[in-house]
């Protein structure tokens, strides 16, 4: 049998050749779609910049649909499939389950993405990513998505299979690593998500070819959001795993306590899926009890999980830094962090951006009554650019800047340029989210080609500030896209032209068993670190600062709500 395993001399990771090839293929596909989606996003932002308005209405809606589908589904799911293979096969040092099926999955995803893209480009499917019935798209739009989802589902089950193999062949000792545990959380959510997608997209496809006469729009929304929102919860679980992974890779950080971090992931599994109900808060017919239960009670336990990760990820970095001697004051550990290393800076900007902007805005706007203020305004894309772009995409970029050189055995292309990447992308995106959220608070609606209502029988003008904010959003988008272009250039350059490091040497012998640290079992070794029994006091101060902003922002919004018309 051909030698199958290699150990990376720099990272110490063990790669199984078929797994390695699948990871490469999925990661490359992901980056290609990211580049396409990024350019579409630039066109969207330049159209919504009132003074520029680069596209006409028809092209705008086509491009906006393409941007949503390519970014929210295609780019992210390709990367997540690569991540699942990595977190199972590579981290557990085992062979990957059914690699040939992995290529079938890859083919289905590529084929599905191509069919849906073609349906969009043809212009007959400008229905936005949500494709709310009864607005019709071409049958290919739904069919491509179904194929894509089937492919992704196969990838998810290969992840489960690989975990079984690793356990069966005893390639690791004890429990799976925390990062793999987080990936497992993402995979479980993915099964729920894709099931919801199948339940709604298959009948909708049959409806589009005339086989079913009617799809109830409210039922469609209820089930569709099980796909639409929960797919973004896969991202949360995945990018939190990436945060832990980067903390481990860059700092050698270990979780402050496995129990807390794993417990928080477990809360996601139990509670995060019902949070998709917050998309239906402005819908007719759903009862108050249903809304409060789904969006608040249960969702807030999932929010609690995110608040926990928000402390434990930087906390584990702080502890690791203090152990290395950066133990003075509250923030020496942070000042002495490697800010010039894009793997770290990207991860940290993702953490801060997701927490402060995405998390707070998401919970506040998901409150039952607050939602009436911003439902379907451009505040909503503002929020999810903070979560999906600043949170997930930036975390995945940071991971890629480390993983791609390891995978391809090449040095990072133009490392000096790569240093700027997370800053441009992160700050550009953060500004975009602020300006979109600001414009949404002033009433500007989302998915709108022209905020001046040209051609309408009536005149209405949004406040001048709203126009300014949409212009600033356009400028910020240009900055973010620059950061995105640097990412693509650096990654593609690394794959094609990066200076080769030592060639990959495969061996037939099985790699050694993956062992955990031989840590004392009596308790923490954090004694003597930090302040007053708090091993991570700096992180605690930052967390309290987050909470303060959260509380203030929550009540400001209720105050604003109290000033509008009364309704019941």
């Amino acid at each position: 049998m051909q030698p199958q395993f290699r150990t990376c001399p720099e990272s110490g990771l063990v790669f199984h050749r078929p797994a390695e090839n699948l990871i490469k293929a999925n990661a490359v596909a992901a980056v290609v779609f990211l580049a396409v989606g990024g350019l579409l996003g630039l066109l969207v932002a330049l159209t919504r910049w009132p003074a520029v308005q680069i596209l006409n209405a028809q092209d705008f809606y086509t491009v906006l649909t393409g941007h949503g589908v390519v970014m929210l589904l295609v780019w992210i799911l390709f990367f997540e499939i690569a991540l699942l293979y990595f977190c199972s096969s590579v981290l557990l040092r085992c062979r990957i389950a059914t690699p040939r099926l992995g290529w079938v999955a890859f083919g289905l995803m590529i084929g599905g993405a191509a069919i849906t893209s073609w349906a969009i480009i043809a212009g007959s499917s400008s229905v936005m990513m949500t494709s709310y019935v009864p607005m019709p798209a071409a049958p290919g739009f739904y069919f491509g998505l179904i194929l894509f989802a089937v492919g992704a589902l196969i990838g998810v089950f290969m992840f489960f299979g690989t975990l079984v193999i690793a356990r069966d062949e005893k390639t690791y000792e004890g429990s799976i690593p925390l990062v793999t545990f987080g990936a497992l959380t993402a995979a479980i959510l993915a099964v729920f998500t894709i099931a919801c997608g199948a339940i709604i997209l298959i009948p909708t496809w049959l409806w589009s070819i005339g086989y079913i006469s009617e799809i109830d729009p409210l039922m469609y929304r209820l089930v569709w959001w099980g796909l639409g929102h929960t797919s973004q919860q896969i991202n949360v679980a995945a990018h939190v795993s990436v945060w832990y992974a980067v903390a481990a890779i860059v700092f050698g950080a270990r979780p402050m306590s496995e129990k807390v971090s794993r417990g928080a992931f477990f809360l996601y599994i139990l509670f995060i899926s019902v949070a998709s109900a917050h998309h239906l808060l402005g819908d007719p017919g759903l009862s108050t009890e249903w809304k409060i239960f789904n969006t608040s009670y249960v969702m807030y336990l999932a929010v609690l999980a995110s608040l926990v990760h928000g402390l434990t990820v930087p906390g584990s970095i702080e502890v690791a830094q203090r152990e290395k001697g950066h133990n003075r004051g509250l923030f020496e550990w942070l000042r002495k962090a490697p800010w010039g290393n894009p793997v770290f800076s990207g991860m940290f900007l993702s953490l801060v951006g997701f927490g402060f902007i995405g998390g707070i805005s998401g919970v506040v706007m998901g409150s039952e009554q607050i939602n009436f203020l911003i439902h379907n305004t451009i505040y909503v894309p503002g929020h999810f650019h903070a979560t999906v772009v600043l949170g997930t995409t930036l975390a995945f970029m940071a991971m890629s800047l480390w993983l791609v050189p390891v995978l391809f055995r090449r040095k990072l292309f133009m490392p000096g340029l790569a240093k700027w990447q997370p800053w441009l992308f992160g700050i550009g995106t953060a500004l975009q989210t602020f300006f979109m959220m600001g414009a949404g608070t002033l009433g500007v609606s989302r998915r709108h080609w022209d905020m001046a209502f040209t051609g309408s029988a009536f005149e209405w003008t949004y406040p001048g500030m709203a126009y300014t904010m949409m212009a600033l959003n356009g400028i910020s988008a240009v900055i973010a896209v620059l950061g995105g272009m640097i990412f693509v250039v650096v990654i593609v350059g690394t794959v094609l032209f990066g200076q080769k490091t030592s060639p990959a040497e495969y061996s037939s012998t099985r790699p050694g068993i993956l062992r955990g640290p031989a840590e004392s079992l009596s308790g923490h070794s954090h004694a003597g670190l930090g302040v007053k029994g708090f091993p991570a006091p700096g992180t605690f101060v930052l967390a309290m600062f987050l909470l303060l902003i959260f509380v203030v922002y929550f009540f400001i919004n209720y105050g604003y709500l109290a000033s509008v018309w009364r309704f019941s």
Binding site: L91, P134, L311, T312, P463, V551, F554
Partner: protein, 181 residues
């Protein structure tokens, strides 16, 4: 020694927890519970809630109902398209129809009076957005959503569609006049 390795102990849930984590979890949980209780609290003490009242309706029947309403209470017509302006009696039922690509009819309401406000769609999904007060709801065909609305301030309000409904979506706009009684 890290998150990409197995935990030090197989039975990881017995690992002791740092004090900083316990304190933070307790604080965060309290805040989560406050946010939770604030929603039912607002239903009791706040004045901006949707009760969930809605009825299944055939879109044609709804359109007929709107036409009946327009015929009965129209006070004048506006714009080149002669859109009716309808002034229903204070405290009565008000019907608003969303369709490609306008809101029908224009409404004239009295400040401080409460109306039973019906809204539904004749075709695709639309978004009811009242500006500049920025109240936003989803409008679905087949569902008659009923809100008890009390406009508080006189003035001229815009009704904007904020759910994408096709190429002319951005022209889908109308008015609500709120007048002193």
């Amino acid at each position: 020694m890290s998150a990409i390795q197995p935990p030090a102990r197989r039975v990881w849930w017995k690992q002791p927890v740092d004090r900083v984590e316990i304190v933070w979890i307790a604080i965060a949980l309290v805040w989560c519970l406050i946010m939770f209780f604030f929603m039912p609290y607002w239903h009791v003490y706040g004045e901006q809630n949707y009760s969930g009242e809605a009825y299944r309706v055939n879109p044609q029947d709804y359109v007929a109902k709107v036409n009946e309403f327009v015929e009965e209470y129209t006070v004048r017509h506006e714009t080149d398209r002669q859109v009716p302006v309808v002034r229903p009696p204070a405290g009565g039922d008000v019907y608003l129809l969303a369709r490609l690509w306008d809101w029908y009819p224009i409404l004239e309401l009295e400040a401080g009076e409460t109306y039973r406000f019906h809204v539904s769609s004749a075709d695709w999904q639309h978004g009811l957005s009242i500006q500049p007060i920025n109240i936003n709801f989803q409008v679905l065909p087949g569902y008659d959503m009923v809100l008890n609305v009390t406009p508080t301030e006189p003035g001229e309000y815009a009704v904007v569609c904020n759910e994408y409904c096709g190429i002319m979506h951005h022209t889908m706009m109308s008015r609500i006049y709120v007048v002193d009684n």
